[in-house]
Symmetry: C2
Subunit: 615 residues, 2 copies
């Protein structure tokens, strides 16, 4: 396409953005119109992609970080022949693939769900990392950002990682239209302000008039020829460009144009230009990856091993057997034990430093390229990445997250380091799996099993050593549990997981000595939960007591209660959990103070078996 055609194409994308939003009665046409020339030139001149084969290993990747500009994305797809006009006008309808914000669950050409700002660039960095360090492929990653979203710290975590990793296969295109949702951004049209920031973080920058298609074309060329560092193209644009009633005006964010037909006419009316998107530059056969059965580590019953150590050893073993496994860590690999993997498989280890949002985003990015990432940090610090985990679920991304140092059992470090709300956070993620092993062999098995699941999979590990309870050949299906003690005369079931399992066993032992038979269930699969075993325990013992090293809300107690959420008769339920705010103390003191140690469990058990209601 020549200059004139590119200008026309930009107008067509504006027209179609206006039409789509008008048909929907909602959406963000003005935020689409500012960036229309940017995508027009990109898709017509530089982007390499096979729309018939979105999984082509050599495809470039386009990420719409400003996800609300979805009308522009869909208009561009239409111009590229991937969707037709009829589908374009289903925008935001119930059942349409063209959602308010794009998601790969619905559309095969979307790399990652966006709509929570400041996430597209971080995930784009992950894809570019995969291209450079894992795939060793020549594809490029293009991310279209808004200017407002540069206020998100996650953007600067991404900027830091991209420059540090010399990702010259990555280009961020910033649509500097100066207007956020409720008014002007901090920096307005001051492109230099953004350039200074990106340069300071090690990026090459280009400043350009985002409506001058030749200048935009040259900027993309400059990005393509820049070596050793990523490029940020800072494009001065006007929100609502091309329609006087809305152009560069406040108060029009996220609203269809008031007079859509007039606007279309002002933009020169509908067009039907077609972009012939260039194909990928190579056939890009993906090399086969090793996929053997892992030789997991094995421990003898009775050994004392921390589950975090078991995680590290199992992950290293898994990495030796499976070439698709990648590890990421937030600069605490010596604590999470991800370093065991890093030492054996440095080529598949990504050090993310203390930037948990970027760590999860990078995991989503590499997962989108077919890798199987395990991202680890302290359970407490995964809360930092909550919005990224939430959006990963919207994407339908398959990632493994591992949170170490769970609960008060860590001891002296105190509450800032204790994961006490991680189970609640991870259970509430759509389609997630939540696992909390109590011993080393169980951990190793679950680490291997996680790799094959869909969605967000979370494994919670513990800092301190604990006794190996299971043999190395025991199996631990997701959605299962283990009944560790039971008899025909059980009057109570203790439901524990992780560090509370040995406490529950000790309590049961003590109670048995007093003539009170007690069942003990190891509920290592917190989500999905083993309803059958819990239902049987309810019928046979009448009363369930959950014991968890977690706040009372959203964790094990709630998971067990949910198993009785289908209207069936419910047993009596009691939950022991961490109700206070811990301070510093030894692990044993912490468990005692929280009332989740063996003595507290036994005391509650006695009371419960004797009486109907515990305080």
């Amino acid at each position: 396409m020549n200059t004139g055609e590119l200008v026309e194409l930009g107008q067509q994308l504006r027209v179609d953005s206006v039409r789509a939003a008008a048909a929907a009665g909602s959406g963000h046409p003005t935020s689409s119109m500012s960036a229309a020339d940017l995508t027009a030139v990109l898709f017509a001149r530089h982007f390499r992609y096979d729309f018939d084969r979105p999984d082509h290993p050599a495809n470039d990747r386009f990420v719409l970080s400003k996800g609300h500009a979805s009308p522009l994305m869909y208009a561009t797809y239409k111009a590229a022949g991937a969707i037709d006009d009829e589908e374009l006008l289903t925008f935001r309808e119930n059942g349409s693939r063209l959602e308010g914000h794009p998601t790969p669950r619905r559309l095969p050409w979307v790399e990652t769900a966006t709509g929570s700002l400041g996430q597209g660039l971080p995930v784009g960095v992950g894809i570019a990392l995969a291209g450079r360090r894992l795939d060793h492929a020549g594809y490029r990653v293009w991310v279209l950002c808004g200017d407002s979203e540069l206020a998100e710290g996650s953007v600067w975590e991404a900027a830091e990682q991209a420059a540090y990793e010399n990702l010259d296969n990555l280009t961020a295109v910033v649509d500097v239209n100066r207007l956020g949702q409720r008014g002007p951004t901090r920096h307005g049209h001051d492109l230099d302000a953004y350039a200074r920031r990106f340069q300071a973080f090690g990026w090459h920058t280009v400043e350009v008039d985002g409506h001058d298609v030749d200048a935009v074309d040259r900027a993309y060329g400059e990005a393509l020829s820049t070596r050793g560092q990523p490029t940020a193209i800072l494009a001065r644009t006007l929100k609502g460009k091309g329609v006087a009633a809305v152009q560069d005006r406040e108060g029009l964010h996220g609203k269809p144009l008031p007079e859509a037909e007039d606007a279309v006419a002002e933009l020169g009316g509908p067009r039907d230009l077609r972009i012939r998107v260039r194909p990928p530059s190579s056939d890009g056969e993906r090399p086969a990856r090793l996929a053997a059965e892992p030789a997991l580590p094995r421990w003898d019953k009775g050994e004392e091993v921390a589950t975090r150590n078991a995680f590290g050893e199992a992950l290293a073993a898994l990495g030796a057997a499976r070439g698709d496994v990648v590890a990421l860590d937030g600069e605490v690999g010596d604590s999470t034990r991800a370093e065991f993997f890093a030492k054996q498989h440095p080529e598949r280890y990504i050090e993310c430093y203390i930037a948990e949002q970027q760590m999860v985003a990078a995991a989503v990015g590499v997962a989108s390229r077919g890798w199987t990432p395990y991202a680890s940090t302290f359970a407490a610090f995964l809360t930092r990445a909550h919005d990224f985990v939430r959006m990963a679920a919207v994407s339908g991304s398959g990632i493994n997250l591992v949170g170490s140092h769970a609960g008060v059992a860590i001891g002296q470090d105190g509450p800032s380091q204790m994961g006490l709300e991680d189970l609640a956070m991870m259970r509430a993620v759509h389609g997630s799996t939540v696992l909390y092993p109590c011993d080393a062999n169980q951990t190793a098995r679950l680490v291997a099993t996680m790799a094959g699941l869909d969605g967000i999979r979370y494994l919670r590990t513990s800092r301190g050593e604990s006794e190996v309870l299971y043999g190395p050949d025991e199996e631990f299906p997701v959605g299962g549990s283990k009944v560790l003690r039971s008899s025909g005369s059980d009057r109570l079931t203790l439901v524990a997981a992780g560090v509370t399992v040995p406490e529950a066993l000790a309590a049961a032992e003590a109670l048995e000595g007093e003539g009170i038979a007690v069942r003990v269930v190891d509920l290592y699969s917190v989500k999905p939960v083993d309803r059958e075993t819990l239902h049987a325990a309810a019928e046979e013992t009448g009363c369930l007591m959950t014991i968890e090293d977690h706040h009372p809300e959203g964790g094990l107690g709630d998971a067990v209660a949910e198993a009785f959420g289908d209207g069936r008769p419910v047993p009596r339920l009691v939950r022991l959990a961490v109700r206070g705010m811990p301070g510093s103390a030894s692990p044993d003191e912490q468990l005692r103070a929280a009332g989740i140690d063996a003595a507290s469990i036994a005391a509650a058990g006695r009371l419960l078996v004797g009486e109907a209601i515990v305080s």
Copy 2:
């Protein structure tokens, strides 16, 4: 103190850090030793503080962003005479005020809990904002940061806000010791790399040898005389400085020194130098703030009003009556309706742009100075600040958080914008209050009530209009609920909140027409929950059905289940919640698709009253 004495003081702080960690058998002496000269000079020469009156309005404020260097903080307190040597050696003991990471719950001189990295500077910015824009006081804020934590995006959100707000009362002192937990940082001792970043964000910077006490002193002086912008002092230091066995060595993070006695000897042995910390520069009488009864907005029953609008109007009214109320928003004030407050009280409104972590941190900062902040954004985007909310609870901070656009009821915008895990997140926060009103008058009352509570208070609001159900004089105590329908023959209780209340009422109406009497409870207080009303409903109707616009985990269903977590007989429980991944659709279509609309509730009710088990 002269130069020689400052050098000696630095050594004393190292000695005491080593001794405290040795006594505890854990802790971070090496990270304390790198920064010892920095705090020595600061406290001896520049910091103005009355340790006998930590709430003195004119006190400077010191924030230890690298919270793991707590031994240094406590050693400095000892040198300042605030604690004695005996207490210093209780470090990390059960019950000691000297926790592994400092918290204001325990120690009156601590401004905010740290230990999750990258949070101290953001909160420090909030305190400096309070000083400049709210208190109009001359106090200064000094934040001691680590170099590793500059990888956190939250630091750059803070940097952006501080420069934009011209906070020349803020100084960040970065202890660039080049070593993170598991090895070297990205930038090692490259002070320029950090200086470029801070300068690009609009800060004044000073690079200095962090062990040259005169140079450090001059750097502080330069910060004090810098006008119109915050200052970052980038100090080149050595981790473990002064003890050859650990100095500048990897693998020694977070460990007591192997030979503590030898180390103390190498550092010249114990000393007992005393710092005479300079008093605040003014008496700093805090002006009295208006504290009247708010004239809350009032709506008539039957009006159609969105609860987000009611929030905005109520907050504006509260702001008119109470001079301590401050509002913050993440650049969506036109959506959350925080703009109603902003227009009436611009002097107490802080625009945080799209930086939710910084918004919550700023709220914690202004709350620490005695203000009552309300921070608002979409409920979905509060997940971005989860770790900050968690740490605010560790601090014991009293802040109000308001999440709008909750649930699938927002309609076409799709899942990225839907708060569907916010109740789970907020319930699991220690000491939190979680409120979810269904109408305008209820919202207004709860907005006013929140201000007087302790801890983290969360209010969930809705995008769409709903009918006003309650009169303007109705009262809504926290921990209460409203029984909207009941009779002696109720066979089922519907427990709803927010948008599901009108759906439950319509379902009850339909069921009554079929001869099935149903109770309806508006559970506006999700935490604490009204156990008495739920227990009565259980006894009288035998079966409770919760209906929530939230994922099934961690929300209303779990809250109701928890009310029966004390071993008492449990009713049959059924929960309707959002189990799928929504797409774009109208609000009505969304409620129907999720099975939480009136028709779905009625259908489930029929089944439940007829049979024991649903599905």
